[in-house]
Symmetry: C2
Subunit: 341 residues, 2 copies
């Protein structure tokens, strides 16, 4: 078990702000980006906040991110629009596009933005929360480099393409799904390896071609299992096709080819942001429906006595409250590295 230290959310936010400025970010973008990363850390998603700081800053260093840029409108009509990432930081371009989708939903009941040439959006769930905070139902996803073998393939040829769905909840307690198409995200493999833990179920293949629960072995072979075997594989392919076609950007295979050719980090991604304004459809018993769903999940007879089933997003709000009160535990080594960046 790696050593952990406790830091406050404000401390993380302020350190990240200073590091972003140091690496060339403008004040406004450093402010917004550090706040998003701090919230993601507070929500317990260490893999896509604390552990991704080096990567975020490297994007400023290597020119994938150009300070001060915003996504550029390419084309579109009515309730749909296509944007180009234009060197914007990934968290900022994704936030911008989800906000645009929400504006379109306010006008048309539903809105969609297709973004191409995007940098890594880090934690996808954030954009679901962003839309749900505005009272919107949201669906969004990104494609990725080739980091997952399709079902029946021995080599990584599809993306783990994180997929997000969000429904606004009472008192800000939204239902938010944030799911990579692999059984475990790369971020999760990293967190489990660092913690010296085994995965709860098989997550991929080791170098002998056997299924394994050892996260580091899977990171080595890059042979993760798609969630639900052929099901996650198929869904990954559709998410990639939709995103690349609607944004007229690069599909996973083309992203991978470009990365190998240019020797760059994962970039030039395609993302889809769909927002729906429930009130445009008429009255809805939103609170009653959510209460019924929560009740049916919480009060079902559990497999393990005392471990009730949960709804996606519930852990987040418990973690967030605790994190803003008590700070968060992070790997001491990771924090030391951040301070040196």
């Amino acid at each position: 078990m790696a050593e952990e230290i406790r830091i406050t959310i404000d401390e993380f936010r302020d350190v990240l702000y200073q590091k972003l400025i140091k690496h060339g970010a403008l004040q406004e973008e450093a402010k917004k980006t550090s706040e998003i990363f701090a919230l993601n850390a507070a929500d317990g998603v260490i893999s896509h906040s604390i552990l991704r700081v080096w990567r975020l800053l490297s994007h400023y260093d290597n020119g994938l991110v150009v300070p001060g840029r915003m996504p550029v409108f390419v084309s579109g009509t009515g309730a749909v629009a296509r944007y180009d990432g234009n060197g914007t930081s990934g968290v900022l371009s994704a936030s911008f596009c989800m906000e645009k989708a929400c504006e379109l939903a306010d006008r048309f009941g539903i809105g969609m933005v297709a973004l191409r040439n995007a940098n890594h959006w880090m934690r996808g769930g954030y954009y679901g929360h962003l839309a749900a905070d505005k009272g919107k139902v949201a669906i969004c996803w990104t494609n990725t480099r080739a980091n997952l073998p399709s079902w029946g393939s021995k080599v990584s040829n599809i993306g783990n393409n994180p997929f997000v769905m969000a429904v606004p909840g009472k008192d800000g307690k939204h239902l938010v799904l944030d799911s990579a198409m692999s059984q475990f995200s790369n971020g999760k493999l990293e967190v489990m390896r660092r913690a010296g833990k085994l995965l709860p179920v098989d997550g991929g293949y080791d170098q002998e071609g056997n299924l394994t629960r050892v996260p580091g072995d899977i990171e080595k072979t890059r042979r993760s299992i798609p969630m639900g075997f052929w099901k996650g594989s198929s869904m990954s392919i559709l998410l990639d096709a939709c995103a690349a076609i609607l944004s007229d950007g690069l599909n996973t295979a083309s992203i991978e080819r470009k990365m190998q050719k240019d020797g760059t980090d994962e970039a030039f991604l395609c993302q889809i942001f769909i927002a729906i304004a429930p009130e445009a459809l008429g009255e809805s018993r939103l609170e009653e429906i959510e209460a019924s769903i929560l009740d049916s999940v919480h009060n079902a007879q559990p497999v393990k006595e005392g471990s009730p089933s949960r709804c996606p997003g519930e852990r987040v709000f418990r973690d967030r409250e605790a994190a803003f009160r008590d700070g968060i535990l992070v790997p001491a080594e990771s924090w030391k590295q951040i301070l040196e960046l």
Copy 2:
């Protein structure tokens, strides 16, 4: 292995047409319904065509379907609309709503229809093909009765909520995902049980609480596994919440309660139909992107030599061609039962 006989697609369509008329359907709806069922059978989805005829006809007998009905507009504005199933046959109301979503997409670039009080739509993939035939990218899903335990629950409390994504392909060879949130659909369990086969991976629990590949044992306990364990469980919950809230209809727990109270078959479902017109977003290298994706999937080094990885929907077109040419193999007993209905 149960005895199988070969019938032609036309024979199935004509027999079903006659049976529908006999059970009260009007000519026009019998024609359209029998054509949809015939196509689903040709596409190799026996579970949701041949094996569902008795159920379709029972809906006419027990009054869940009222001949001649169509969905009724409830409310909505701009690119979104809410409809009520109004006793329409499930395949007809779902077709109607996907067509409406496509019309909205023609006007606004994207369109969504939320349908409540719907009867069972049978094979979800059909509505993806329907939209893709019109050149649309489509996403649709339905909620269901409580037929799946949420992750950590011992009893069925969530739905397997089939989820469909479709992207139009060259020469009608669309990419179509049609995936229940359980690792295996109930239809698949039935088909495998009838064929006396084991599932390729664990699909649920037997009566001793052990994971099993025996389909009949899972049908008995009704303890299927969600695809990807907690991932399919979470996605099922979000699909249910979205569908019920946007249509202001019944969520899975409420559907189950109503079924138990009224002693009826699965009905009063909520369905979402989203269609996107790619051309509204501008030019797109659709064929080039799809060719790249197909290539990266087909030509990846396979786990089993000679068994290349496949894209969702590919089997369907091979099956469809063969079925229209040679007919299809169906369980002899099932066909005999249809003829007696």
